[in-house]
Structures are given as structure tokens and as C-alpha cells.
Amino acid sequence: MHHAHIDKFAYQDSPVHRLDARVKFIAAVIFTAVVISLPRTSFAILFCYAIGPFVILVLGRIPLKFVFKHILLVSPFVLILALSCPLYDKTPVKIAFGPSVFQTTVGWERCCTICGKFVVTMLALIALVSTTRFSNLLAGLGKLGVPKLLIIQLGFLYRYIFVLIDTAQHILRARTGRTFRNLGVKQEMKIASAMLGSLFIRSIDTAERINIAMHGRGFNGNWRTISRLKISNNDYIFGVLFSVFVISLYFFAVPVLN
């Protein structure tokens, strides 16, 4: 079965794809922290910051349709938070955007900033996962000192989430194939809980079989892997360019634009 893998473009080859996972991860974390820490009045500068991940996405040949589709997928969670702002803060405020001046409320201003920050940080996150193989990202996180147990859990989650989705889809299909009339909410809930139970039991069975397969190959509780990550000159160049971009925007553009 085919799934909408978030890392489906991570197997391409480009200068961005070839960068070390650790460098890209650290850059994404710093970038996100800086964007989130921007004041709510700095909406215009968010556009400047958006250039960074946008360039990465273009250099990595990631289709923008794919990027915005994934932003839209996650957006409901943030939109609920953002759209609640105008409801509780109605203090009037004037916003200058270029030559135009708008009269609005602090709530709406905060709402726009939250949405803007969300889009820009999502661009950075998608740029990271679309240009980095998940296995390299996990190896990079391990090298950066993230606890091994968490890395193993993330690895298993990513490996088996698709198997679980497949199983769930098979169960749903079997149910649909035998449902010929509206059963009512109560009956539907009963069926849904039975399906969830079945999925849960299958997951436990799968986990037991994986455990046997691991022990069959000598696993004794120590997780051993070979890291194939290597920092190159291009990684240093990227690091310098990234630092110049983020720092110069923050320390020079923020006071000017505000």
C-alpha cells in the first residue's frame, strides 16, 4: 500500500540532501527558536526569515505543492489557537505595512503573527525532513546526545506506523465490504471499539514477533548501530551562511523594521 511519506523526497540527491543531518537539525532548531522569539509586531520580518527555508526547499527540489499540502494538514491545530486570539484581546492597534496603515485589534495582530510563525517554522521543519533521510536524522540525534531509548522508540514508530496504517485500512475495508445499511451511532461505536481492540491485539502480536526476531539475531539489550555520518567542508560553509542569515536578520533588521 502507498502512504504519504513526509520524507518521500529525502531520497533525492542535491547539495542540501548531502549536508550532514546533525548540521541541518541544529540549524532547524535554532531557526525555529529565533522565529518563535520574534516580537508579535515583527510580522514583516517573518517574510524575510521565510526566505531561508524557501531557498533550502528550492535547492532540494522539493515541490512547493507538497510543502503547502503538509502545512495545511497540520494547520487546524494552530488555527484553533490563533483564531481564539481576536476573541479575548480587542485592544485597538494601528499596523503599518509598507505605505499602508491598518486599524485592527491586538488579538487579530497576534493571530496573524501566530499563523505567520507557524508557516515559517513549518517550512523549516519540512525542509529538514524532506532533505534528510529519517535514518540519518535518527543517527544524527543519537550523535547529538539524544537518549538511545528515545531514538529506538522513534525508529520503531517510523518503521511500524505504516504497517499499522495498512492493518487498520485492511480492517476498515473488511468492515465496509460487509456494511450495507446505516447501523446507528451506538452500533457504529461498538464496531469501532471492536476494531480498535483487534488492532491493539495485532500490534502486541507484532511486537512479540519482532522481539523474537531481535533475539534470534543476538540482541541482548544493547542497541548497536554503525554511524555513517560525516561532517564535510560543505557542512561548515552551510553553517556559516546560516549563522550570518539568522544573526544579521535578528540583530540588524529587527530594530529597523520595528
Partner: protein, 245 residues
């Protein structure tokens, strides 16, 4: 010839009390290619699990001279490489390379030795170009071959495969037959597919309701019309020509 596996009066019950294996006596010689045949639920998979020490019952199992018991399990699992029915259970690492390297790393080989073993195992199954692929990006046939590579990289003396032909199309099944026939190790294969069994096995062991019903030369057992019919098994269409599997 030396014995690869010797099972003496082995019996096993599931935790709910159901008898899975009853009074099994079986002796497998080195380099033999043995197929465990029988209907679904006959006990073939449990017998394979017992050989690798995953199902502890009554009686005795000896693998390459080592008795299957707790103190020997680590050594035994380097001697007998088990490949389970669903390759998704076998391929649990983020990349194929990591999966094939998992066994050798646990055996204590250094990085360079592991890389050589991974490359050799992947070359044997024809997947050397896919080392960096994630298992969920592989087709069913590729997953099956990759699962075998995870065992080959450990260079076991005995390879035990549970239903390796399951969900394979004829072309991939044909490739698998060619691969398994050329492996120098002792092979134990559990399968319900008689064509597949006949193409690989020198010896067949018919299992039903946890007991060994017949044991002998593969062709002799699988072409016994009465025996096959009695245990709900089909006769193989051909034995030597793998193109029509």
C-alpha cells in the same frame, strides 16, 4: 555426516494447554535441505521456534552439538539463523543496511568486518544497491530477500525459514528458489507450497497435529498420492523445473 540438529522426544504445549508438538524425534544432517510440510496449524513454525530456543518444552534439542538451554542460547542463535514468516517482523531497523548489520554487530564484529558481511549478504540476495533504502519502501519480493540477507550476514551453519514463499509472485518465487538452492548451509524450510518444497528439498518431513507423520526423501513423500490427500496437501506439479512454480 555430522548432525546439524537432533531432536529427541520433544513436546511443547501453548500457555493455554493446547498441545503444539508431541514426541518429536528428528535428526538433520549437515548441508541437508529439509522441508517441513504440513497443513496450516500443523506445528511447523513452532518446531522451528523450538530449534532456536524460542519454545521451551519437554525433551531435548541439540543444535551443532549444543543442547538448547538458556546458557547456550547466545551461541545457538549464531549457529541457527531464523527467518520468520512475515518479513516486516524481521526488518525492524530504519534502513536495510542497519537491518543486515544488526546480527553481526550483536555477534561482536568490528565496524569494518560488519560492513564486509553486510555487503556480501546483500550481494548474495542481489540487493547491494538498496542498502540505504527503508524497509517500507521495498516490494514484497525485496522484503523477503532482505529478510534472508539479515540472516546470511551472520554466516550461520543452519538457516531456518518459515513460509519464505508466502505472498510472492511466481517470478520472485523462482528467484528465491534459485537463491536458496545455491546456499551452502543446512536449510530447514517450513512451507505449505508443495511445488516450492519439491524444488528445494532433498528431504521432506510431514508434520500434522504436532506429530511427525512421514520423514524421507522429498520426491518419495510428496508424490505419495494417498499420503498427500490424507493430510490435505497437493502434489507438486514438477520437481526440477522451477519456471512453473
Amino acid at each position: 555426516m555430522a548432525k546439524a540438529i537432533e531432536i529427541k522426544r520433544f513436546s511443547y504445549k501453548y500457555p493455554d494447554g493446547t498441545i503444539a508438538l508431541s514426541d518429536i524425534n528428528l535428526s538433520i544432517e549437515e548441508k541437508q535441505k529439509v522441508v517441513l510440510i504440513g497443513p496450516n496449524g500443523a506445528g511447523k513454525s513452532t518446531l522451528m521456534l523450538a530449534m532456536a530456543g524460542f519454545a521451551k518444552g519437554e525433551g531435548e534439542i541439540i543444535v551443532n552439538g549444543l543442547k538448547v538451554e538458556k546458557k547456550n542460547l547466545k551461541k545457538i542463535r549464531t549457529v541457527i539463523g531464523c527467518c520468520f514468516e512475515n518479513p516486516d517482523d524481521q526488518l525492524f531497523m530504519p534502513t536495510l543496511f542497519d537491518d543486515v548489520a544488526f546480527g553481526p554487530l550483536n555477534m561482536g564484529f568490528n565496524t569494518e568486518q560488519v560492513k564486509i558481511r553486510v555487503a556480501q549478504a546483500l550481494r548474495t540476495v542481489g540487493m547491494e544497491a538498496m542498502a540505504e533504502k527503508a524497509p517500507h519502501h521495498l516490494s514484497a519480493g525485496q522484503k523477503r530477500a532482505a529478510a534472508i540477507a539479515t540472516v546470511l550476514s551472520m554466516s550461520p551453519d543452519i538457516i531456518a525459514l518459515d513460509e519464505p514463499d508466502g505472498s510472492l509472485d511466481p517470478r520472485n518465487r523462482e528467484k528465491l528458489v534459485a537463491l536458496l538452492k545455491n546456499l551452502p548451509q543446512t536449510l530447514i524450510i517450513a512451507t505449505c507450497n508443495m511445488n516450492f518444497a519439491a524444488a528445494i528439498g532433498d528431504r521432506a518431513v510431514l508434520v500434522d497435529k504436532g506429530r511427525i507423520i512421514a520423514d524421507g526423501e522429498a520426491k518419495e513423500i510428496m508424490f505419495d498420492t494417498k499420503l498427500m490427500a490424507e493430510y490435505g496437501l497437493e502434489m507438486p506439479a514438477m520437481v526440477n523445473d522451477t519456471s512453473e512454480l
